[in-house]
Symmetry: C2
Subunit: 245 residues, 2 copies
């Protein structure tokens, strides 16, 4: 007998501290860390990186980087972590630098969340950011499988930019999913309010991450990370690595 044609569900987790509320064993999990891990991941893969190895700790990053002769990169609290070569800005990974190379990456929130999702039984993980918005939305529609949009937030505190991206995805895919999730509805509303000018919205609201990065002179990064479809790739997690899907 054919299976009943059931509409898949979509939920949004606004903080890693809420991840365990959702059964993700049969869902596509979209890891979202707009400023800046998942934007940088999309950009590096789009510019030809062979693969990106997300790791939890700076020590692992250094160790694995040495073993593989790979580039080590990452940040803690928004700055290049001590002992690593590169940071977490998409601008550090142009094609001329990254093509064909392996990047070992650790970040404050994004890579941590990815490992939490694995620990919680996720078996299909992709990463999302405005840089690859359409690639993510198209993939989710095509898969026709339940989805968890998982925001990396900032040290478990909910942030505006990851919620904006969740809202942007929902805005694109909602007719394909059953959405009974207040967080998703709030995210979509927030995105609709902000969509005329995401950067201006972040600035006017004085979003916490806007303040943090702009105090380091990184408005350029914020603007870039809020621009849609600058890096149309689909980073998929397979056997410890993020590769082009």
């Amino acid at each position: 007998m054919p299976k009943p044609n059931k509409t898949p569900v979509l939920f949004t987790s606004l903080s890693p501290a809420l991840l365990n509320l959702y059964d993700i064993t049969n869902s596509v999990v979209v890891v979202i860390d707009v400023l800046r891990a998942t934007s940088t991941i999309a950009t590096a893969l789009y510019n030809g990186a062979k693969e990106i190895i997300p790791v939890d700790s700076v020590n692992d990053c250094i160790r694995i980087g040495k073993q593989m002769g790979a580039i080590t990169a990452g940040e803690r609290d928004g700055k290049v972590a001590e002992g690593l070569q590169y940071g977490n800005s998409p601008f550090e990974y142009p094609e001329s630098f990254i093509k064909g190379k392996t990047l070992v990456l650790t970040t404050t929130n994004g890579t941590k969340l990815l490992h939490m999702a694995l620990a919680n039984g996720a078996n299909e993980i992709i990463t999302g950011s405005f840089a690859n918005l359409d690639a993510v939305a198209d993939f989710l529609i095509k898969k026709n499988k339940s989805v968890l949009l998982a925001c990396a937030a900032w040290k478990d505190r909910i942030n505006i930019e990851d919620m904006l991206f969740a809202g942007a995805v929902i805005d694109k895919v909602k007719s394909h999913f059953s959405i009974n999730c207040d967080s998703s509805k709030i995210a979509e509303g927030l995105y609709n309010e902000a969509s005329p000018d995401l950067f201006e919205f972040m600035k006017t609201k004085q979003a916490s991450h806007y303040q943090r990065l702009s105090s380091y002179g990184l408005e350029k990064d914020i603007k870039h990370c809020l621009t849609a479809n600058t890096a149309s790739v689909l980073p998929i997690y397979k056997e410890g690595k993020l590769i082009q899907g």
Copy 2:
């Protein structure tokens, strides 16, 4: 030497699972469970209840109710809990019934959060709902102390109505606080979008709790709980009891 005149801070915790991110030992904690625990608490006190004893479990509710000869009330999953006399609707507590009496109350989310706040070191707890919006806002401004708006949510999942109330409070008190908290900013924006007609907003969004309560025929409760200042009292937690402040 006089203390420096420091602006107090305000944060919003959108779920009990996020409560431990905030140091609440020197803050006023506002426990928010709009549908319906904190609306019912305000209503019962406004209508002359002597005191309300919030308890964690149905068993404690029955035991303490017997010991004190008090009214036992509460819900689990939106319905009157087995073994208790009354439910969690403000309409069950008119003056003719509740005046001078003690109410022992247990609810799915609100009373649980109150006990979590105590366990996390809170020493000043009040409860908030649209029913006593202005009383809460006036108290917070007068205290001139840091604030955590703590949403009870639904089994740790963020909900729209508690966030709306947090936003309503922020809208009233924001000029008196330093607010560097994305959750607070999102809540305020949500409230501003919804404020022309909160009930219509909940209905249009098909908020999860709107669906749950309206399926029990409780639209009347939802409407009442979204109406401002129907019960202008300030419930303060003192020595195990909520009393009029």
